[in-house]
């Protein structure tokens, strides 16, 4: 009971951060929206011919949504690292508050704010011609998979946020995720890549997730990759959760240079 109450206290704190820094949300959604416009209007003319029956804007929405998540969780990592450096994590760690409450509160508020950012991005996409073929069930599945992805990557972000030696370094891990998104069928079909890159693309976690999201949005069905996609997000979630709690139990601020 106490753990639930404490998790809620922590969630409230974290949500206040989000609602009081609307500029941060704008910064978070600006990059993916810019990417969306760039890909649709600049590269779309050339790449769009290779996406077959799927309109290019419809083709790239899953990738853009995942970019939004990556941009959002990088911010969560930075915020957690700031807490660590300021001694706020030390304060919580020396109090009778469960580690899962401190980090769980962040994860919960990160999920809510990321869903909000994704909704903003999808609305912009609708304005420029995104026309999903998904029925409510498909949308529900899409959102479910998205929430799992947000949770898994948020816990990963918190692990790196607690591990980083500086606030600047805390968000750097997100570049790796960013790279994974580009080396996947998110923006271009993988058959146009070199064989080596294609092998990477076909065997990395983002690929089945993007494929399943795209299938849900354009065909209204989860498609053949859903189980692999779920296995990846569940796996990343369990590993990141364990790692983040493990590093939380040991984290102390880096002493200032003397």
């Amino acid at each position: 009971m106490r753990t639930f109450a404490d998790t809620w206290t922590m969630t409230k704190r974290s949500l206040r951060h989000t609602t009081r820094s609307i500029d941060t949300i704008i910064t978070v959604v600006l990059m993916p929206i810019a990417m969306l416009l760039l890909f649709v209007y600049v590269f779309g003319g050339a790449i769009g011919k290779q996406t077959g029956s799927i309109k290019y804007v419809d083709f790239i929405i899953p990738g853009v949504v995942i970019l939004t998540v990556i941009s959002g969780i990088a911010y969560a990592a930075v915020r957690l690292n700031t807490d660590l450096q300021r001694g706020i994590i030390s304060r919580f760690r020396t109090m009778p508050v469960a580690p899962s409450s401190v980090l769980g509160g962040q994860a919960l508020s990160s999920t809510l704010s990321n869903l909000f950012s994704c909704a903003l991005v999808v609305m912009v996409a609708l304005l420029i011609g995104f026309r999903p073929a998904a029925d409510p069930t498909a949308w529900l599945l899409f959102c479910g998979l998205l929430v799992l992805l947000i949770l898994a990557t948020t816990w990963l972000a918190m692990f790196f946020g607690l591990l980083a030696r500086s606030v600047e370094g805390a968000g750097a891990f997100s570049y790796i995720l960013m790279l994974l998104i580009f080396i996947s069928p998110s923006f271009v079909p993988t058959d146009s890549m070199t064989p080596a890159l294609r092998t990477v693309a076909d065997n990395q976690p983002m690929t089945p997730i993007v494929q399943t999201m795209r299938s849900l949005l354009t065909a209204g069905t989860p498609g053949p990759h859903i189980w692999v996609a779920l296995a990846w997000v569940a796996g990343i979630l369990v590993v990141s959760y364990t790692l983040a709690l493990g590093v939380y139990r040991r984290s102390v601020p880096i002493p200032a240079a003397q």
């Binding site: 106490r2 109450a5 404490d6 206290t9 409230k12 704190r13 206040r16 951060h17 009081r20 820094s21 450096q85 300021r86 001694g87 706020i88 030390s90 304060r91 919580f92 760690r93 020396t94 109090m95 009778p96 508050v97 040991r250 102390v252 601020p253 002493p255 003397q258």
Partner: protein, 318 residues
């Protein structure tokens, strides 16, 4: 906390290294309930490491430490229910208001009347007027006051302060000292680290001096001061001849040094020693134009101990 006979903090032979470099070596001390204990040392002497071990943030490599009767390594959850930590930097949430910061602590500490606790603490720390402003507009002193107020939510019986007055202006420092005194009057045990001898002298019942990860001296401020000459007597002379004569007369029995036109004689706390000094002067027919006595400060103790320590002598007044 049922057992009133146990000490608030007991540390035995604590060892801690960091990447093969020893940070703490054979550190032992005891803090009685309701007392103020000061761990005195320079930057890098191991003060924060000691606090981190006692507050369950990091684990020691060897030795034992118990807080409120609970072993910090074996029962960290029990320890956390008895302590509160005020770290070196103000651990306050900048995005929240002062009231929200305190209310959050009230919720996490599960106090019975959070509203009242928050209002009382805001008033006590002179933050009532700024209560609903976000901390972005707060001065350093205000943040520190809020930081301490947050540590007091829930009335933890043992409070740790890591360099509580470093970087504070003189007024804020005096306020901080007053707060610590009030805490102790209400039965709280206070463990603090400091670089300032004056602070330890002013606040602490017991002081331990930490140097390069070792306790090089410990005792009350008075006991520590007794380790150095109880007073330096300054003798003034008009004439150079008189000064030289005095120096010859005292030199074989006393520690004498010359500072400008004055002769400084180190004496211990003994009337006999003082009397001997004056008798020697009288017998030699030397009349100083003036004399004055200086009391030792903890600074003198500190530098003497460091000096002794470099020479390999351990100072233990117990």
């Amino acid at each position: 906390m049922d057992d009133r006979t146990t000490n608030a903090i007991e540390v035995r032979n604590l060892e801690k290294g960091y990447k093969g470099v020893p940070v703490l070596h054979d550190v032992s001390f005891t803090v009685g309930r309701g007392t103020v204990f000061a761990l005195l040392g320079a930057n890098g002497s191991g003060k924060t490491t000691t606090i981190n071990i006692l507050t369950t943030l990091i684990k020691a490599d060897g030795g034992t430490a118990s807080v409120a009767g609970f072993d910090v390594a074996e029962q960290p959850a029990k320890v956390r229910e008895q302590i509160s930590l005020t770290g070196q930097s103000a651990a306050v949430d900048q995005m929240l208001t002062a009231r929200e910061n305190l209310a959050m602590m009230g919720e996490l500490r599960h106090v019975t009347d959070p509203g009242r606790t928050v209002t009382d603490l805001l008033a006590k720390f002179d933050l009532s007027d700024a209560a609903d402003r976000r901390l972005l507009t707060f001065s350093g002193g205000m943040r520190r006051r809020l930081d301490i107020a947050m540590s007091l939510v829930g009335d933890a019986p043992i409070i740790f302060f890591d360099e509580p007055t470093t970087g504070l202006d003189p007024k804020s420092r005096t306020d901080m000292w007053l707060t610590i005194r009030q805490l102790v009057e209400n039965g709280t045990t206070v463990f603090l680290t400091t670089q300032y001898l004056e602070e330890a002298d002013h606040l602490a019942d017991e002081i331990a001096i930490l140097h390069s990860g070792r306790i090089v001296a410990s005792g009350t401020a008075e006991e520590l001061k007794a380790m150095v000459p109880a007073g330096l007597v300054e003798l003034e002379f008009d004439e150079e001849e008189q000064l030289s004569a005095a120096r010859r007369a005292l030199g074989d029995r006393h520690e004498v040094s010359r500072v400008d036109s004055k002769l400084v004689v180190a004496t211990r706390r003994s009337v006999a020693e003082m009397a001997d000094m004056f008798i020697r002067l009288k017998d030699s027919g030397i009349e100083p134009t003036g004399f004055s006595r200086q009391l030792p400060t903890l600074d003198d103790v500190f530098f003497k101990i460091l000096d002794d320590h470099e020479k390999g002598r351990h100072a233990d007044v117990r």
